[in-house]
Amino acid sequence: MAKQLVALENVTYQYDDQTSPALKKISLEVFEGEWLAIVGHNGSGKSTLAKILNGLQFPQEGNVSVCGHSLSEETVWDIRKQIGMVFQNPDNQFVGTTVQDDVAFGLENAGVPQEAMKTRVKDALHKVKMDSFLDQEPHHLSGGQKQRVAIAGILALRPSIIILDEATSMLDPRGREEVIGTVKELKQQDRITVISITHDLEEAAKADRIIVMNQGQIHRQGSPEEIFQMDEELIGLGLDIPFPVKLGKMLRETGIPLTKQFLSEEELVAELWTSHYKI
C-alpha cells in the first residue's frame, strides 16, 4: 500500500454568504505517487476542496492533514511548501516579465540562494520543455505554454503534490494535450502526486483514481473503469461519458461482441480489429 499523503476527515465548509455548506462531511485520502482526478459539475464543491487542501480556506469542521501535518494556522506555511497549485486562467498566474523570472518568483519568496535558484529554474523549465524560452515575455506564449511555465514555477519549489484546478479548461486542444502530457511525464519520472480537478472526462480517464463530487459530497470513487460503468448516472450528475465508452456501448447494442469497456480510442480500435477476424 502506498504512503498516505493527504487525509481529510469529516470536513465541512460553508461560505459566509451561503445558506448551505459547499462541502459536507468529506473524508478522503490521497496516496503518494498517484494521479487522482476530482470531477463534478460547476458548483459541486470541487474547487472548494482544492482550497481546503492547501489552507486557502479553513474548514469549520473536520480535520485535514498533509504529509503528516494537521492543517492549522501554525502549519499552513509548511503545508503550502508541499502543495503547488495551478489555476484555471493562464494570464492570472504569470507574474514575471520573462519565463525565467516567473519561475524564479516563487524561489525568491522561499529565500533560495541565487546560485541554487539558477539551476532549479533551468531544471524545472527543462522538465516542462520550456527551457528554450527563458527570456520570452508572457504575451509571446500560447495558453498551453503559460500553463507549463506555471507548472515549472511549482516544480522549482519541489513540492510533493501538484493540484491542477481546471488548469486545462481555458486551453485549446493542443494546449490541453501539452499540459496533460507534461503532467503524465512528471508523475512517471518524478513520482509527483497529482490531484486534477476537472470536468473533462477524457482527462479524468487518464488518472489512476476518480472521485465524483455532487452537491458538496463524494458521490462515488473508484478506478476510471469503475466510474465509467456509471454511464447514464454521470450524465445525470452534469457530466459526460468519454467517447470510446459511449461508442463501445452503442456498438454492443447492435450485437458486436466486445470483451470489456474501453477507455481509450486505441484500445477500442484494437478490439474491433481483433473481433472482426473472429466473426
Partner: protein
Amino acid sequence: MDISLQNIEYRYQADTPFERLALSDVSLDIPSGSYIAIIGHTGSGKSTVLQHLNALLKPTKGTVLIGSREIRAGRKEKNLKAVREKVGIVFQFPEHQLFEETVEKDICFGPMNFGVSETEAKRRASVAIEQVGLTKDILEKSPFDLSGGQMRRVAIAGVLAMEPQVIVLDEPTAGLDPRGRKEIMDLFYQLHQDKNLSTVLVTHSMEDAAAYADEIIIMHQGSVFEKGTPSEIFSAPQALIDMGLDVPEVVRFQLKLEQAFGRKMGKVCLTAEELTDVVASFLKGGNPS
C-alpha cells in the same frame, strides 16, 4: 442582415515599429439566417475577424459590408452605433463584464445605451432573462451573488436585450461543465431558429462546430484556410490534424479505424449513431453504405 468581408487585411499598430499583420486577404460571407462556425488555433486571426463583424476594428485594406453599411479601409467612419446595435457580440467569459448593482440594471445598460427608453429596456430584460433559462426574481439580485453559470446567462441576456439580428459568440462555453455547455449551445441554437438570427460561433470545439453550424470556416495564420459544410470539411480530417487542429471525436475514431483496417468505410460520419451503423455493417461483412 448579411455581413460580408471582402479582401480585408488588418495590421495591428500599423505604421509603427510594432506593426503586425493579423489578417491578409480574408473574404467571407455571413448570409442572413445562417449559422457559421469560425475555427482556428490561438493566433490564427479568428478574434480579429470577430471584431470586424461590428466594426470594433476597421480593416487596413478591403471592405466590410454590414447590412447596407459599407466600411472601407482608409475612410473615417462615423455613427457606428446603428451597426453595433444590430450585431451583438458575446465575448469570452462575458460574466467578467457584469458591473451593475442589479441584474435588471445590467441587462438594461446595453439597450439604454442605444437610446431605448427605460420602460422598454425593462420589458426587454424580463423577456431576455427567461430566454436564457433564468427566472424573473433574479432581476432584483446583485449579479455578484449569482453562481458562475448564472452570471454567464445574465451577461448573455444583456446582449439579447439589444435585440440584435446577428449574434457573435466567442467561445461561449469555456469553463462550463458538460451539462452547462450543452444547455448554452442548445439555447443559442433555439434562438437562432426562433428569431431567425444569423449566428457566428468562434470556437475551438470541433464537436460544437460539427453539431450546429451550416458552414465552417477554418482560419490559419491570418487567412481563410478552408470553408465548407461540416461533412465537406471533415471528409479530409488528416489535413486538419496535421495543422494541429482537432477533429470531432467521431471523425477521429473513424480515421483510426480506417487506418487499422487499411480501408475506407464509405461516408464521413458526424454523429456517434451514424458511426455505429457504419461500423456495424462493416464488421458484419455487409456493404458499407
